[in-house]
């Protein structure tokens, strides 16, 4: 592909239609999609919505151009300029960037696009790749400004990513405040996703070992703490299956529910000596989990409270961060804002340079659906949002009130009700969702809100 020629043929003030004809076909070609593997103006199945381009590799008996189903990649195109002649700025966090990204997200979750794993936004000056895993859309690259010098390597990088779609989404459950239900959420959400045929791995990355203990597990002979320091160990050997026995008639049937990498005592004795042996520091866990990218549908990492080695590792390793809060613990709300702003956006995301990780909207763990205490929590959130807006010039609305839309000030925060069984089953070594149908419903609602795209 002679990109300098392609770029030279795009008018500096190209409108969307010109980007669609002068740039996107070359891009799709370079990404490995032949003319019979792409469609312009693909109807998403949601109202009259059409995404500018859809693409999928053909198989011997299925030509995408003819069957027009199961797209793998969507491309939402913008111009360099609007038809009215205004410049379109797609740099990250610009107004037009945010609306284009949201548009792509909507398309990716549309009825006829559920098969799509990948989405691109581009106006030929900028480009960004997103990955779609069930309901979760995460950036797979930064929003990159295209130049004659970088375009070949950028397109190649995107091609390599989409040709190797990982099976797994890695989620870190974290808030910089203790007792908000991180461990409880991790266990029950995982157990719930298993009922939806998802293969799940849990990583107990908290030296207090709450998750490991509440499931009644012991570490394997190869321990997680040893894998951190010894590059020659195989992390797969650290996995312990969590099994449940079900009585059926006279015989017992053993089910492998999910896999766990338990915490071990070596993590407790985390000293200067240990730290001197962890190459790449808090970036090490991410590398350790790489062999599982095609083994599981979800990996959940349970972290301790402080923003230190363990939590930093968990957030760095994750594609998305799920942040439980307590509606009646105002500090858990303030800390959620801190996690999003300081830890995710200003620290880890900048160091990772791959567009990730993202923060999912917060939820209230163990709260009533409404009432005075919810109103108070809402007031506190409004305060947090206002401060972030004036002091740090950052918009936290989507992270706290994700249901707000233009003209609809819907300030509902997802809530997971308080339920006594949840607390008591921590000693029973069985996830509460398997003990009580109602609890399963609660966590299924949580799974649907954030993950499942049904």
């Amino acid at each position: 592909m002679d990109w300098s020629k392609v770029l030279a043929n795009i008018p500096p003030q190209a409108k969307e239609a010109e980007v669609c004809t002068q740039f996107v076909p070359h891009l799709l070609e370079a990404l490995g999609f032949s003319e019979k593997e792409r469609l312009p103006q693909f109807s998403t199945g949601a109202g009259n919505d059409c995404v500018d381009f859809a693409a999928r590799k053909n198989t011997s008996d299925d030509v995408f151009l003819f069957t027009r189903n199961e797209p793998d990649l969507l491309i939402e195109v913008k111009g360099r300029f609007t038809n009215a002649g205004g410049a379109i700025n797609l740099t990250e966090n610009s107004h037009q960037y945010v609306s284009t990204r949201e548009q792509l997200k909507r398309y990716l979750l549309s009825p006829k696009c559920k098969s799509a794993h990948w989405g691109i936004i581009t106006n030929s000056s900028h480009i960004q790749l997103f990955r779609c895993h069930d309901k979760v859309v995460t950036p797979a690259t930064e929003c990159i400004e295209l130049t004659e010098e970088n375009i070949t390597s950028v397109v190649n990088h995107i091609k390599n990513l989409i040709e190797d779609t990982p099976r797994c989404l890695t989620v870190c459950v974290y808030n910089n405040k203790g007792g908000v239900g991180k461990t409880t959420t991790t266990i029950n959400l995982a157990a719930t996703l298993v009922t939806q045929k998802k293969k799940v791995l849990l990583v107990d990355f908290d030296s207090q070992r709450d998750l490991t203990k509440s499931l009644g597990l012991e570490p394997s002979s190869v321990k997680l703490s040893e894998c951190l320091t010894d590059n020659s160990l195989d992390i797969r050997s650290a996995i312990i299956p969590f099994k449940l026995t079900q009585k059926s008639g006279k015989s017992n049937k053993v089910y492998r529910v999910f896999d766990v990498i338990p915490a071990d005592h070596g993590m407790e004795a985390f000293t200067h000596q240990t730290q001197s042996r962890i190459q790449k520091g808090a970036a090490r866990l991410r590398d350790l989990l790489k062999p599982f990218a095609n083994e599981y549908d979800y990996i959940f990492i349970d972290c301790p409270t402080q923003w230190l080695f363990f939590s930093k590792s968990g957030v760095y390793a994750a594609d998305a961060i799920l942040i439980p809060t307590r509606h009646n613990d105002l500090s858990s709300l303030q800390n959620a804002a801190r996690v999003i702003q300081e830890f995710i956006l200003n620290d880890v995301k900048k160091i990772r340079q791959d567009g990730g990780p993202i923060a999912l909207p917060i939820f209230f763990n163990g709260s009533p659906a409404d009432g005075r205490s919810i109103d108070m929590a809402q007031k506190e959130i409004e305060q947090v949002i206002a401060t972030a807006k004036t002091v740090d010039k950052i918009n936290l609305v989507p992270y706290f009130f994700p249901k707000i839309k233009p003209g609809d000030m819907n300030k509902t925060v997802f809530n997971l009700p308080d339920y006594a069984v949840v607390a008591s089953s921590a000693f029973a070594r069985v996830p509460a969702v398997y003990k009580h149908k109602k609890v399963l419903e609660y966590y299924l609602a949580l799974a649907r809100e954030y993950f499942l795209n049904e």
Binding site: Q275, S276, R277, Q279, K280, G281
Partner: protein, 264 residues
């Protein structure tokens, strides 16, 4: 330097993850053997670290303190304590300088007489030097007295009759210094007839010579001179020589320079 890498940190690294120097040679086998014995006697924990940079994922390259690598390898150790430094040419250079592995160079464009004297004294005291016969004080004074601001190389030194002659001596001298001359001036304005030039056109050409301090023009007042030229009866000029009589610091040597920008 963040918690997501090991830069600035003392790390205990597997010896086989470290790529050793390809140019270092240890002082002597017996010193290495004795140092290895000393290291083993104290439990194999080297207190002076090997200095490494990250060469890739879980791969490191030795930057300096190479002796430690050789000793640890000789002692049969599998791990060695290392300090991981930032991987940039200037940071690597700095580590090598501070470890005494390389001698830092001095900027001769701006060096004072005292500094030049000190460097020359050091060089002249080195074994096998070719500068032994040089009178350090006189030679440093002569170099210091020169305007070195535009030197592009060390060739002018050989012309100073300061004892540092072209060849071995000058090479040795140059090994301790570097130069930071200003970038060469941009290409000059086009040549044009002085009789037809407007004041603006004359000023533009004079400014070029003055701003870039070409051939001693640094002290000429371009405003004043262009004014005088415009107001002179230029039509009768047979050369540029009348300019030398304008009391503006233009001598016949400078007229030669003016001829590169002006014709009659």
């Amino acid at each position: 330097m963040s918690d997501f890498d090991n830069v600035g940190q003392l790390m205990c690294l597997p010896l086989d993850a470290i790529q050793p120097s390809d140019s270092y040679s240890a002082p002597s086998e017996y010193i290495v053997a004795a140092a290895a014995a000393s290291l083993l006697q104290t439990g194999g924990h080297n207190w002076i670290p090997l200095i490494v940079e990250e060469a890739g994922d879980y791969a490191y390259r030795a930057i300096t303190n190479h002796f430690i690598y050789v000793v640890a390898a000789h002692a049969g150790l599998e791990e060695v304590w290392c300090l991981v430094i930032k991987s940039s040419p200037t940071d690597i250079e700095q580590a090598r300088i501070l470890a005494g592995e390389v001698t830092p160079k001095v900027n001769l464009t701006t060096a004072s007489r005292a500094t030049i004297t000190s460097v020359l004294k050091y060089l002249a005291s080195q074994p096998g030097t070719s500068l032994k016969s040089v009178d350090v004080t006189i030679s440093a004074s002569k170099i210091a007295a020169e305007d070195r601001s535009n030197w592009q190389d060390f060739a002018p030194i050989a012309k100073l009759k300061c004892g540092i002659t072209k060849g071995k001596k000058l090479d040795e001298f140059a090994s301790a210094f570097y130069l930071s001359p200003p970038p060469p001036p941009p290409s000059p304005p086009s040549t044009m007839s002085i009789k037809q030039a407007s004041k603006q056109e004359i000023l533009e050409r004079l400014n070029y010579l003055v701003i870039h301090k070409i051939d001693g023009f640094g002290t000429v007042d371009p405003e004043k001179l262009s004014e005088l030229i415009v107001n002179a009866d230029r039509s009768k000029w047979k050369s540029l020589n009348p300019i030398t009589k304008m009391n503006c610091g233009i001598n016949t040597a400078k007229v030669k320079t003016l001829k590169t920008l002006f014709t009659l």
